[in-house]
């Protein structure tokens, strides 16, 4: 009986090993799942959160932000610095400085939710890397937007 079990163990063990080898061989001859970034791109999820960005007003092209500071107040990591001024002809303030310290941000999204002007959104910058951390310590979100203060 014992001898039978010994031999049966060897046979069943070998069969199970062969089954495992069949799986890996099938893997090997099937098509790889790799997306060859950066030559190809894998789809990003629709709700992907990159660093926040500032949206522009459709009419004027100025930043939507009126520097109320609620984002800076609610941010748990204190990564946002906002300053605004009133342009001469308007009632509302417009942001003149909007700095993000992305190295402290943990993408919780409280700033986006709390913004009364809906001025903030998540960007789709997914592959940031740099040689110095200072590039990301003060990211100027107003870059590229028009400003009413260009004299």
């Amino acid at each position: 009986m014992n001898g039978y079990r010994y031999l049966a163990g060897i046979v069943t063990g070998s069969v199970s090993l062969l089954k495992g080898m069949r799986v890996t061989f099938a893997n090997m001859v099937s098509r790889p799942h790799t997306v060859q970034w950066p030559r190809q791109t894998a789809p990003l999820p629709a709700r992907f959160r990159g660093h926040i960005r500032m949206l522009a007003d459709e009419e004027t092209g100025f930043p939507r932000c009126f520097a109320c500071g609620s984002c800076a107040r609610i941010c748990p990591s204190a990564c946002i610095t906002v300053q605004g001024r009133k342009p001469g002809d308007r009632k509302k303030k417009v942001a003149v400085r909007f700095l993000l310290d992305f190295t402290k941000c943990s993408l919780c999204g409280l700033c986006v939710e709390s913004c009364p002007a809906r001025a903030l959104a998540f960007s789709r910058d997914y592959a940031l890397a740099g040689y110095r951390d200072t590039e990301f310590r003060t990211m100027d979100l107003l870059e590229g937007l028009a400003s009413p203060f260009q004299f």
């Binding site: 070998s14 090993l17 495992g20 799986v23 890996t24 893997n27 090997m28 099937s30 790889p32 799942h33």
Partner: protein, 316 residues
């Protein structure tokens, strides 16, 4: 004793070329096989399909700093990679890769190859002790425990083949299989032999002496740059030798229809190496007691029974 020094130098150069080229090809192949078994590509960007990857690795390792730990046993530490590499140059001498492609026909070629193959453990033990590192020492002592488990089944396999062919000469053994390869007569023995060479070449699932998840990197934990690459070279060359032996002992060596001899022997050889790679990327590592169980309680009795049965059949 009538070999001129020029011939010896030519042989040495040829064997060095084989050792180097084989390692370059095998490392690339291993990474590609591993990649594809994981649904990946493996090296792609260095050269077409990553063909130059190993070259880049080699040049990089040449340019790295070679560290000798302060507490290491300096002479032993420096000697270890050399000890594990040098026997290869002798063991490759009697391997026939073709009708005429053989450095030296030796009437005890098989014994020489097997004896030198066992010296690999000495290099590992030397590295393990010389590094003066607990993981390295554990790796070395595991390698010694391992050799005790696989050596007797390995020698029994070889004895059976010697008995069937009636010669120690690798060339004669290959020629004896003109009418039928020994794998047809001895399928069980072939399986035992493949398992023992997996043990001999220290490859997963039996890579106890460098078990990454237990011993960090085992015996070569303290080796950087060239020391490490010499160990790497030795490991892949031992794979080459073991696979070449398997192809000669069981698959008729260079003999086969249509294609020229060396092509056949390389095909068989790399087929067996692919089998070893396939094992590596399929099976998880055993526990050491399971390995000893396998060696002493399964491989040894099976090889012994097979040996006795073969002897009986041959005597009749």
């Amino acid at each position: 004793m009538s070999i001129s020094p020029v011939t010896i130098v030519c042989y040495l150069l040829g064997i060095s070329a084989v050792v180097g080229l084989n390692a370059v090809i095998l490392v690339w192949l291993e990474r590609k096989v591993a990649g594809h078994m994981h649904f990946r590509y493996g090296p792609m960007e260095v050269g077409p399909h990553g063909l130059l990857q190993t070259l880049a690795d080699g040049i990089k390792l040449l340019g790295k700093q070679f560290l000798v730990p302060d507490a290491a046993d300096r002479p032993l530490f420096l000697l270890a990679p050399v000890v594990s590499l040098v026997p290869i140059f002798v063991a490759m001498v009697p391997l026939p890769l073709g009708e005429t492609l053989q450095a030296w026909e030796l009437n005890i070629g098989l014994l020489l190859v097997v004896a030198l193959g066992l010296l690999n453990t000495l290099g590992i033990l030397l590295a393990g002790w010389g590094s003066n590192n607990k993981y390295a020492l554990l790796g070395g002592s595991r390698a010694v425990a391992q050799i005790l488990a696989y050596k007797i089944p390995l020698l029994l396999c070889i004895l059976t083949i010697i008995m069937m062919a009636g010669s120690y000469s690798l060339r004669q053994i290959a020629l004896a299989q003109k009418d039928g390869w020994y794998i047809l007569y001895q399928p069980l023995l072939f399986i035992i032999y493949i398992v023992t060479i997996t043990l001999e070449t220290n490859r997963s699932p039996f890579d106890f002496s460098e078990a990454e998840s237990e011993l960090v990197a085992g015996f070569h934990i303290e080796y950087s740059a060239m020391g490490f690459s010499l160990f790497f070279l030795a490991e892949y060359s031992y794979m080459f030798i073991a696979a070449a032996l398997a192809s000669i002992l069981f698959l008729g060596g260079w003999q086969g229809p249509f294609l020229p001899g060396p092509v056949w022997s390389l095909l068989k050889l790399y087929g067996i190496i692919f089998l070893l790679m396939w094992f590596r990327w399929t099976f998880p590592r055993l526990r050491i007691d399971q390995m000893l169980h396998l060696g002493w309680k399964i491989l040894l009795p099976l090889a012994l029974v097979n040996f006795l049965v073969t002897a009986g059949v041959l005597a009749l």
